[in-house]
């Protein structure tokens, strides 16, 4: 028994509430308030995981977010997540935790033998070894061995993570002494403050380091300060790490709940930010410095004072700075046998009572197998130890400052990078700014708040003992004996860094990629600075000359549900829905997504959808079809310059259209390519409706707005997207007029009054309806538009009255057949990003229009006039053959090689014609009607005949029938 729980003390734990959880199959006992790590330590579990590459035994190093070693996969009813830091995860009843990278357990890992081959697998070993003959030969096995925790594939998030947008005057990150002081000062100056901290309780170092503030014990000052802030309505968020600062000082927070709920993502837009993020203790370099039982000295003090865990009985504390002296004193006080080894010979604080001091010595190596058993000093002295606490100095936590593009400045005195030039709206305070003593910390808080332009008083005063900041740098040096770990999590040793330098990966960014130094879940919080100091020493540069890698979010891992929020499942890309969706479903509508709309593909048919589609298309030609065309764009263009505007927007002249009439036309992009097609309705002199393609409404609307605002002016044209306002129900077929007559809409359906391409106004059930004689089927059609919320009775009426005419409901698939029979195109299906209007047979405006319009100049380039452009054609195959494959290429043979001449764009079986119909874009197709062409698809070649696009009723008689 070495580590143990003391009978008394522990500010964080509640001894009246014992808890139990499992680790690697064994039961671990703890108290409410414990972390997984503190409970494991209290139970004297030394080996908590295996290292990434060599499967070395690893113990708990730290007590916070910096932890490189103690990661666990967490399962059970409350949580499921891989690679969770045991040091920050609360121990809870019923948790199931497993060590990572270990089989079957961390203690007995069967891949531990790999460490004996360590000399053969240095950094970049994989890159060099598995290049030949082919990396993919080795990849599966290597991947199977790589990685740390395991994702539970069966796990699904218990809910949707909340995402909160939050605004405040000042965001303070870190609720230690510096952050609390800054928050109080800012609150006193009248600012709204949000104070966040990654730990479960505010206080930071004051929760385990000695100190008095304003004459009170630190803990009292913390409690009073928090109560005061909360009482004044400021927001205090514990267990909420700030993981990133993004552009314009957006701060991302991930609030943890620990009760089974997903975490909550906070997007904070503060006017100003104080970073009081503290500092992280570094390891010391000596051989085997990764053995379990070798810990951060400060972490040992955390475990002692917050969790009443004494981490060892025979303890060696090795340090190069003053901060470990309080640790040595506290452990000796708690009953441990403590030897303090300081690399310095003089300038140290007083030696604490009951502590043996060895000065002027560093650790050369540690020994032990599954846990540390002793250390050897530089002079060869051996000390037995069941725990070795090390303090290699403090690295200010300037990650967020770096993410905000803050420049760093090297401090030789502190042996660390400190925040350099100020970043707009961001100030740094406390240990993160290099302050050590409480007096310095509070002074830095005053400076931080003052630097943001706020009055900062009254400042808290430190009235107790204070720590001092003496340090003598102890960086890893090249040529050291033994295996000295720099990065525990990625198994990067000093020799790996030396190897990288030998192979000229001397840039710090290259060093990182070559050796993996500073990667993975801890992102090198303990290892980056020692690594680049070593590189500096190897290459004869200073540490600031080597520089740091780029700081990027996230500072701590963030669960994906936090980022996803509600954007999961159907909410990832919400579909637009028809007003009559439920009615269609009741009629057996089978829905599919078409261009962002959920629409009936066909009605009924069960397993034989194709038969159902064919039946719909056939019956539509025989009598009358009902189709829900509500998705069709209805963008109103209104104003004194509306006609002029539309002339400019459209390829076709639109100002000559008479009120009450419709005209089909193209919209082009400025590069001449057909962007959209559709029917324009002129309601009156200054009012039009652009009826664009269903899936193109947003894009057409944006385009109209752009030209309106850029070219025509806001007072001359108004644009209103009324697509969702109205439902459009289409009646099509030889008996369409008879069926529409039953509606008694109060207008004449006489073709002399309401001919093809005209509109009329009527009413149904007291609501105004608009009837447009527009046809996408080639048959006489009436598009009836009515308020979307009043469409249902009209549809029911059509269905009821339609029974007398054997009316058929048709879905989009049947409509596609009907329009293809007629050679009517769908933009984006029968055209591509090179199709110009004259490729589709629309030559007249190009030839005749003198006024400028969007895309005009592009229709007169060499490319636009090229003789072998692909043109819209029909493609026919003999009766009895299957339809051509959509996407199949028309080919020609040149010296035995195949060359594409275009491709099939639409292809269907036509039930009315009893043969397949197809459309395609084929080179010079317009002049090749009647020619045979070979169509190749997936290696098979068939012969088709080029024809006019329209295969059915080419004279258009049925429009008027």
């Amino acid at each position: 028994m070495t580590a143990s729980r003391l009978a008394k003390g522990g500010s964080a734990i509640d001894r009246s509430r014992p808890i139990r959880f499992s680790f690697d199959g064994s039961t671990v006992h703890g108290f409410a308030g414990d972390t997984i790590a503190s409970a494991l330590l209290a139970g004297d579990v030394a080996v908590v995981g295996r290292s990434f590459k060599y499967h070395r035994p690893r113990g708990i190093w730290g007590a916070g977010v910096e932890e490189p070693n103690a990661m666990v996969d967490v399962g059970g009813s409350l949580a499921s997540a891989p690679n969770i830091r045991a040091t920050t995860e609360p121990a809870r009843d019923g948790l199931v935790t497993r060590s990572v990278n270990a089989t079957p357990t961390a203690q007995t890992d069967r891949n531990a033998f790999l460490d004996r081959f360590a000399r053969f697998i240095p950094a970049a070993f994989y890159y060099k070894t598995f290049m030949w003959p082919d990396w993919h030969m080795f990849e599966p096995r290597i991947r199977a061995m790589a990685g740390l925790g395991k994702v539970d594939r069966d796990w699904t998030s218990p809910g949707i993570a909340d995402q909160i947008n939050h605004h405040c005057d000042l965001l303070v990150v870190g609720a230690g002494p510096a952050g609390l002081a800054a928050a109080k000062l800012a609150a006193g100056a009248g600012l709204s403050v949000t104070l966040v901290d990654d730990q479960r309780k505010p206080g930071g170092s004051l929760a385990h380091r000695a100190g008095d503030v304003d004459g009170k014990p630190a803990a009292t000052w913390v409690a009073e300060s928090v109560a005061q802030l909360a009482g004044a309505g400021h927001v205090i968020l514990p267990s909420t790490p700030a993981f990133g600062i993004y552009d314009h000082n957006l701060v991302g927070l991930n609030q943890r709940h620990f009760d089974g709920r997903p975490d909550t993502l906070w997007r904070v837009r503060p006017r100003q930010i104080v970073l009081a993020t503290g500092a992280i203790e570094r390891p010391l370099p000596f051989a085997n410095n990764d053995l379990p039982g070798i810990m951060s000295a400060d972490a040992a003090l955390v475990y002692l004072r917050r969790y009443a865990v004494l981490v060892g009985r025979r303890v060696v504390v090795a340090t190069n700075n003053d901060s470990a002296y309080e640790v040595a004193a506290a452990l000796a006080e708690a009953g441990a046998d403590v030897t303090l080894v300081d690399i310095r010979r003089d300038g140290m604080p007083d030696t604490p009572a009951k502590v043996r001091l060895v000065k002027g010595q560093a650790l050369a190596s540690a020994s032990g197998r599954l846990r540390v058993e002793g250390v050897t000093l530089d002079d060869g002295t051996r000390l037995d130890a069941d725990c070795v606490l090390v303090s290699g100095g403090w690295t200010p936590t300037i990650h967020l400052f770096g993410q905000a593009r803050g420049k760093l400045a090297w401090s030789e005195q502190r042996a660390a990078f400190l925040p350099g030039d100020a970043v707009d709206g961001i100030a740094v305070a406390g240990a993160a700014s290099g302050a050590v003593s409480l007096s310095e910390v509070f002074a830095s808080s005053v400076n931080a708040v003052a630097s943001l332009g706020e009055t900062a008083e009254p400042a808290p005063r430190s009235t107790g003992p204070e720590s001092t900041g003496g340090i003598s740098a102890a960086w890893p040096m090249p040529g050291s004996k033994g295996r000295i770990w720099i990065d525990y999590q990625n198994d990067v040793t000093a020799k790996d860094v030396e190897l990288a330098a030998r192979e000229n990966f001397v840039s710090v960014e290259h060093l990182k990629r070559y050796t993996t130094l500073g990667m993975a879940t801890d992102q090198g919080k303990t290892s980056n600075l020692p690594g680049l100091a070593l590189m500096a020493a190897i290459t004869g540069r200073t540490v600031p000359e080597v520089g740091t890698t780029t700081y990027r979010p996230p500072f701590t891992p963030v669960p994906l549900p936090s980022f996803a929020g509600v954007r999961v499942g159907e909410m990832l890309a919400p579909l637009r829905r028809l007003p009559l969706e439920n009615v269609h479903r009741a009629s057996g509508g089978v829905f599919q997504e078409y261009g962002g709309w959920l629409r009936p593909a066909h009605y009924g048919g069960g397993a034989d959808a194709d038969r159902s589609i064919q039946d719909e298309a056939l019956r539509a030609r025989q009598s009358v079809a009902l189709f829900d065309g509500s998705t069709l764009g209805k963008i109103e263009v209104i104003g004194p310059k509306a006609a002029e505007f539309l002339d400019f927007i459209y390829y076709n002249t639109m100002s000559t259209l008479k009120p009450g009439r419709c005209r089909y036309g193209f919209m082009l992009s400025e590069n001449g390519v057909v962007f959209d097609d559709g029917v324009l309705v002129r309601l009156d002199e200054h009012r039009f409706v652009v009826s664009c393609s269903s899936s193109h409404v947003a894009a057409v609307h944006a385009r109209l707005e752009e030209w309106r605002q850029d070219r025509f002016g806001r007072g001359a044209v108004y644009i209103h997207n009324a697509t969702a306002d109205m439902a459009t129900l289409t009646v099509s077929g030889p008996n369409a007029r008879k069926l529409v007559e039953t509606l008694e809409l109060g207008l004449s359906l006489d073709d002399a009054v309401l001919p093809h391409m005209a509109i009329g106004h009527g009413s149904y059930g007291g609501d105004e309806v608009r009837i447009a004689r527009v046809s996408f089927t080639g048959d006489r059609s009436y598009e009836i538009s009515i308020r979307a919320d009043r469409a249902e009775p009209l549809w029911a009426h059509l269905r009821q009255a339609g029974q007398a005419f054997d009316a058929v409901l048709i879905g989009l698939e049947a409509l596609m057949i009907l329009r293809a029979e007629k050679g009517f195109i769908v933009i984006g299906k029968d055209t591509d990003g090179t199709t110009l209007p004259h490729d589709l047979g629309s030559d007249a405006p190009r030839a005749k229009r003198q006024a400028d319009y969007v895309g005009r100049r592009s229709l007169f380039t060499d490319e636009a006039s090229r003789g072998n452009r692909m043109q819209l054609v029909g493609l026919t195959v003999p009766q009895g053959e299957a339809p051509l494959p959509t996407g199949g290429h028309g080919i020609t043979r040149i010296e035995g090689r195949l060359r594409s001449q275009g491709f099939v764009t639409s292809s269907y079986q036509s039930p009315t014609l009893g043969r397949p119909v197809a459309l395609g874009l084929i080179e010079r197709g317009g002049a090749r009607h009647g020619e045979a062409i070979e169509i190749q698809h997936l290696g098979k070649i068939r012969t088709a005949t080029i024809a006019a696009p329209c295969a059915f009723d080419p004279a258009g008689d049925r429009l008027h029938a």
């Binding site: 552009d247 314009h248 590069n671 707005e705 752009e706 605002q709 850029d710 070219r711 025509f712 002016g713």
Partner: protein, 88 residues
């Protein structure tokens, strides 16, 4: 996430905006425009390091506007609503 000041709505997240091209790319009128000039209007884009003048649209309200911003520091220097300069 940058904050762009929509002239109509005020500061909003950048994800609500679409880029609409660089400002000052005046449309050459007339079919007589030489192909080179037309190609420049269609395809040539500056990619300035530093101050850029760009057209953006706030998708939520439909406002098109000119935004001057620094492509290095991401500082927004100014926004101006489109005037419809050809408007009578």
């Amino acid at each position: 996430m940058q904050l762009f000041p929509c002239p109509f709505c005020g500061p909003r997240d950048e994800s609500e905006f679409h880029y609409g091209g660089h400002a000052g790319n005046a449309r050459p009128d007339g079919a007589g425009m030489p192909a080179e000039g037309w190609a420049g209007y269609l395809y040539l884009r500056p990619n300035p390091k530093g101050t850029a003048r760009e057209i953006w649209v706030h998708m939520n309200c439909g406002e098109f506007f000119v935004m001057e911003r620094d492509t290095v520091s991401h500082t927004v220097l100014s926004v101006t609503t489109l005037g419809g300069e050809h408007a009578a």
